[in-house]
């Protein structure tokens, strides 16, 4: 579903040229759960941003489904993002001025889903995430775990093909972290492709495959049978 060929990302400032990603070749199949690991600054997040079409690579090819999207304009990327990719962030990134319901509803608004269906889908996903009773609360009235559940609700409400999670348990205690990982795992079992950046080997254990990055390069790829925790 996702295929990267010789992907490169170089950041250039006035004096310094930094290679964030160097010759990345990676394929992620539909329904896979892939964890990307590596030390800080190795390019994990940069890779995730490119996968999420939030950033363009400097070189190489990126296939999202059948489309080569490496040189897409901002407009094309935005168009593709809607409904196809769900995001889960470490710091939740919910809009403070919107209630739980309204936050989850937001992607559907951009997809111009009719009101009745929107309501039904948001309620379904909130029920499923066990956060329905908080539907009219604002983010700051929720615990971290609840906020991340809302963020996951928002990520899946549009039924995306892939969920990109950037350290989804980074701001949570172990119990809430565990709960979030179980949710992601469950979504994956239902068919959603998940790509997750994490520092936690424990969380990575939920994935089918671990891609290790170092200095912008893929150094190892482990499939689940060979995990060493």
């Amino acid at each position: 579903m996702i295929k990267l060929k010789n992907l490169e990302k170089v950041y250039t400032t006035e004096e310094v040229e930094t290679t964030a990603l160097n010759n990345i070749n990676l394929e992620i199949k539909e329904g896979e759960f892939v964890a990307i690991m590596g030390p800080s600054g190795c390019g994990k997040s940069t890779l995730l941003n490119i996968l999420g079409l939030l950033d363009n690579p400097s070189g190489g090819e990126y296939y999202f489904g059948e489309h080569e999207v490496a040189k897409y304009s901002e407009r094309q990327r935005a168009q593709l993002r809607k409904g196809s990719i769900g995001f889960v962030f470490q710091s939740f990134n919910l809009i403070d001025e919107l209630t739980v319901f309204e936050n989850v509803e937001l992607p559907l608004l951009y997809m111009k889903v009719p009101a009745a269906e929107r309501k039904q889908r948001v309620e379904e996903v909130l029920e499923r995430m066990n956060i329905m009773h908080r539907r009219n609360h604002f983010p700051q009235q929720l615990s971290g775990g609840q906020q991340q559940r809302v963020a996951i609700s928002r990520a899946i409400v549009a039924k995306p093909r892939v969920i990109l999670a950037d350290e989804p348990t980074g701001n949570l205690d172990s119990a809430n972290g565990e709960e979030v990982m179980k949710l992601l795992s469950q979504l994956n079992e239902e068919g959603t492709t998940i790509v997750m950046v994490t520092h936690s080997p424990y969380d990575a254990n939920y994935a089918h495959r671990i891609v290790n990055l170092f200095d912008g390069k893929v150094v190892t790829e482990n499939i689940k049978e060979h995990f060493h925790i």
């Binding site: 941003n49 950033d55 593709l80 809607k82 809009i95 001025e97 111009k112 009719p114 039924k159």
Partner: protein, 808 residues
């Protein structure tokens, strides 16, 4: 393979509304989070819009002046251009016989009317009423638009008919349905009977014809008894209606043939040309050029432009403030922008959202502004006696356009920067928390600086006008304006009778009679000394005039009582007259008046500002006149007893002249207008100053708060390294002190020119800005600013660094 956009098939047009609802929700909730700033901004903009409403209707009042007269574009005033000592000047008058002359000899001038004004007492049964009156020719009501409620305008050709405004009819009779009722005009000692011929709706205040009563012109000759229809020396204001515009030039040429008739009898007033002065725009031109005439002028230009300038300034400050605050608030919403972009929002949608938000705030301001506009209109109306503005929106598409333009202008200015700038950020940076928008940038600094410059301009203006009002109150006008009452009689006999009654009162210090007087009546004539000729103001006065009016003799002597020589050939002059003739020793100088009469200077008085401080002081010459000529009864009494003396004068008047209303007036009341204008301008600028300062202080507070947020880490690190509160305060404040200093220079420079421009357009004698004006203004601005941000800066500087560094 699944489709890329799985719900693409669900796209419908009816789903635009939920997004707008979503925007509105965010706008409202974001506003609630920033209540204070939004409140100040909404009210700031509302006041700006309110001021614009006042300025608009004030401007409209000027533009619609006389436009209700449907034949306005066909009407011309026959005015005369006088040539004197190489200069030309337009007078809104022509000689009285021009009326019948043009009517008989120039058929292209289809309708002709003359107009002379007078002031009469009217009597209904035993009650007396004062009232202005205009004597006009029968064509008058056919040329100018009057809405008749009762009676026929055509009856104006009947000399015995009087036509009243509905207001005057109600005052006299208590009703407007009064056609056929009797009305008595009191002309001195004579009573003249009239029948009410018609009642018309009172003319709007934007009309040059605001007389409350009109009569056939022939009645003028009963009022001004020594004037004859053939008298080329007497002036009238004359209008002609020319339906065929191609004939205007021809008529202009024909008119020149009659110059000789005037020039033969008025060698001192040579008419160079008769002109056809278009009625359209006449009221404004007369005001600008100070043209003498018999009709009402438009408002002074300063009264038209000043409110417009002020409204624009308030609106600009409010817009600048709104922009700064929008930037501040939107920087707190970076996360939302990032998320929206991740969710698939296009940049254009974000731009629409942010501009829409400011438009929403502008719309709120507009609604409040409409109400405030009414309040401010009332306040504005209470400042001016002669002008009452009323708002009217529905019948006024121009104004609706104006309001929409104001809304768009404000919304675009205030919303564009945050909309275009912030929406350009990449979501990665925002959501990773790498991007921090805050503090000041060149744009916000420039806005703050301009805001402060305008505020300072307002403060400078209010202080300068306040200082000027004090200066003008203390100004020595050359006569005693505070303890004088003037009453008007018909002739010397009346004067004598009234005077004899008044002198019984021991509180009256002196009583003088005169034919003319400073501030009420004077005439102008050219006088010659050797080869020099100047036109001077002349007043003919009686015994004790100098003493009673408080004129100060600096050289020579007063007129000697009953001296025939003084009556024939002596004059007392003002210092200014000695100056223009360059006389070092003016006493005994011989001047020639009317080319034949020799006059000798016997005294010099201190300069007299005959028209107050409005216009250039003219040289003046005082002549001694006969008792028979007296029309003024001038009374001087101590200030503290003036009210009692006035009451006594009124009581005596009623006994002596039971058929006439008492007409005594305090001299200072005649001059009150000068002070009213000054006080009103002070009020306007104090209002502007307060509004501008509140808005600017909010802007400063916003930017300082933002700057503190941006510098949190720096403040924390510095504190850890040992910086004191004073050090930190200096770091936060330096930038703003520089901005305020630049604003001070800009504001003071603008203030200097604006004060001079405004005062110069109103008065000829005034005190412009001084060093004190600027120093006080700058101190006021800095103190208000320090108080506004003091607490914020202090609390930031004294904050525990652990808090800020932990966050970082």
């Amino acid at each position: 393979m699944q489709p890329l956009i799985r719900d693409g098939s669900l796209i419908t047009n009816s789903t635009l509304n939920p997004m707008i609802k979503n925007y509105l929700l965010i706008t409202l909730r974001s506003m609630m989070k920033n209540k204070l700033f939004i409140l100040i901004n909404v009210f700031g903009l509302a006041i700006g819009i309110g001021c614009c409403i006042v300025a608009y209707f004030n401007w409209e009042f000027d533009t619609i002046f006389n436009t209700h007269h449907v034949h306005a574009d066909k009407i011309y005033r026959v005015s005369q251009v006088r040539e004197f000592e190489g200069t030309e000047r337009l007078y809104g008058y022509t000689s009285l016989p021009m009326g019948p002359t043009v009517r008989q000899n120039i058929p292209d001038a289809e309708k002709v009317t003359r107009l002379n004004r007078s002031w009469s007492n009217f009597k209904v049964e035993d009650n007396l009423f004062p009232g202005g009156i205009a004597y006009v020719d029968p064509d008058f009501f056919e040329m100018f638009s009057f809405e008749f409620i009762h009676g026929q305008p055509a009856d104006l050709k009947d000399k015995s008919k009087v036509f009243l405004s509905d207001e005057q009819a109600k005052r006299l009779f208590g009703s407007t349905d009064v056609v056929g009722k009797q009305l008595t005009q009191v002309l001195g000692t004579e009573l003249k009977e009239f029948t009410v011929g018609g009642v018309f709706k009172k003319q709007p205040q934007s009309s040059s014809f605001r007389f409350q009563a009109y009569m056939h012109f022939d009645n003028f000759f009963d009022d001004a008894k020594d004037v004859k229809e053939t008298d080329w020396k007497t002036w009238t204001t004359m209008f002609v209606m020319i339906p065929n515009p191609t004939r205007v030039n021809a008529i202009h040429k024909q008119l020149q043939a009659y110059r000789e008739n005037n020039n033969k009898v008025r060698e001192d007033f040579i008419v160079k040309e008769y002109v056809l002065d278009p009625f359209v725009g006449m009221a404004q031109r007369d005001e600008i050029n100070d043209t003498w005439n018999e009709t009402w002028d438009a408002n002074p230009r300063s009264a038209v432009y000043a409110p417009t300038i002020m409204a624009v300034l308030v609106l600009l400050i409010a817009c600048f403030n709104m922009t700064n605050t929008s930037i501040a608030i939107s920087s707190r919403r970076l996360k939302e922008i990032g998320i929206r972009k991740v969710m698939g929002s296009m940049r254009a949608q974000l731009i629409v959202q942010f501009i829409g938000e400011t438009m929403f705030i502008c719309f709120l301001s507009l609604v409040i502004g409409l109400f405030l506009g009414e309040v401010l209109l009332n306040a504005w109306n209470s400042l001016w006696e002669e002008m009452k503005l009323t708002s009217h929106y529905i019948d006024n598409p121009g104004f609706v356009l104006f309001l929409v333009a104001v809304l768009l202008f404000t919304g675009l200015i205030a919303g564009s920067y945050p909309a275009f700038y912030i929406s350009s950020f990449e979501p990665v940076g925002i959501l990773k928390g790498k991007l921090k928008l805050g503090g000041t940038n060149l744009f916000t600094r420039v806005l703050l600086c301009l805001q402060y410059a305008i505020s300072l301009l307002a403060i400078v203006c209010s202080i300068a006008f306040y200082q000027n009002s004090k200066y003008q109150r203390d100004f020595d006008l050359g006569f005693n304006e505070e303890s004088v009452i003037i009453a008007y009689v018909e002739n010397g006999n009346e004067y004598e009778t009234y005077r004899n009654a008044l002198v019984q009162n021991k509180d009256i210090l002196s009583v003088a009679g005169s034919k003319h007087s400073i501030f009420s009546q004077r005439y102008k004539d050219p006088v010659k000394y050797e080869s020099k000729q100047f036109e001077v103001d002349i007043i003919d006065v009686g015994d004790d005039y100098l003493k009673t009016m408080g004129l100060t003799l600096t050289e020579g002597r007063d007129f000697q009582k009953d001296s025939e020589t003084d009556r024939k050939e002596s004059v007392i002059i003002t210092q200014k007259m000695a100056d223009i003739f360059k006389w070092e020793k003016p006493l005994g100088k011989e001047i020639l008046w009317h080319d034949t009469v020799k006059l000798y200077v016997v005294g010099v008085v201190k300069d007299v500002y005959t028209v107050g401080l409005w216009a250039q002081m003219e040289p003046m010459m005082i002549r001694y006149t006969n008792k028979e000529q007296y029309t003024h009864v001038i009374v001087n009494a101590p200030i503290e007893k003036l009210t009692a003396v006035n009451a006594f004068m009124e009581k005596e008047w009623k006994q002596i002249f039971p058929n006439r209303l008492y007409n005594g007036r305090y001299l200072y009341e005649e001059m009150k207008e000068a002070f009213t204008v000054n006080d009103n301008i002070v009020k306007m600028f104090i209002f502007l100053g307060i509004v501008a300062m509140i808005l600017s202080a909010t802007g400063l507070f916003t930017l300082v708060s933002l700057n503190i947020i941006k510098k949190m880490k720096e403040i924390g690190v510095r504190k850890v390294l040992g910086a004191s509160i004073v050090n930190i305060t200096r770091i936060i404040n330096t930038e703003f002190v520089i901005i305020l200093l630049i604003a001070s220079v800009l504001g003071c420079a603008l203030g200097y020119f604006m004060v001079d421009l405004l005062m110069g357009s109103i008065w000829d004698y005034y005190q412009s800005t001084t060093m004190i004006t600027f120093i006080v203004s700058i101190v006021v601005m800095f103190v208000i600013s320090a108080v506004t941000i003091g607490y914020k800066v202090f609390s930031a500087a004294s904050m525990n660094p652990v808090n800020t560094l932990r966050d970082e």
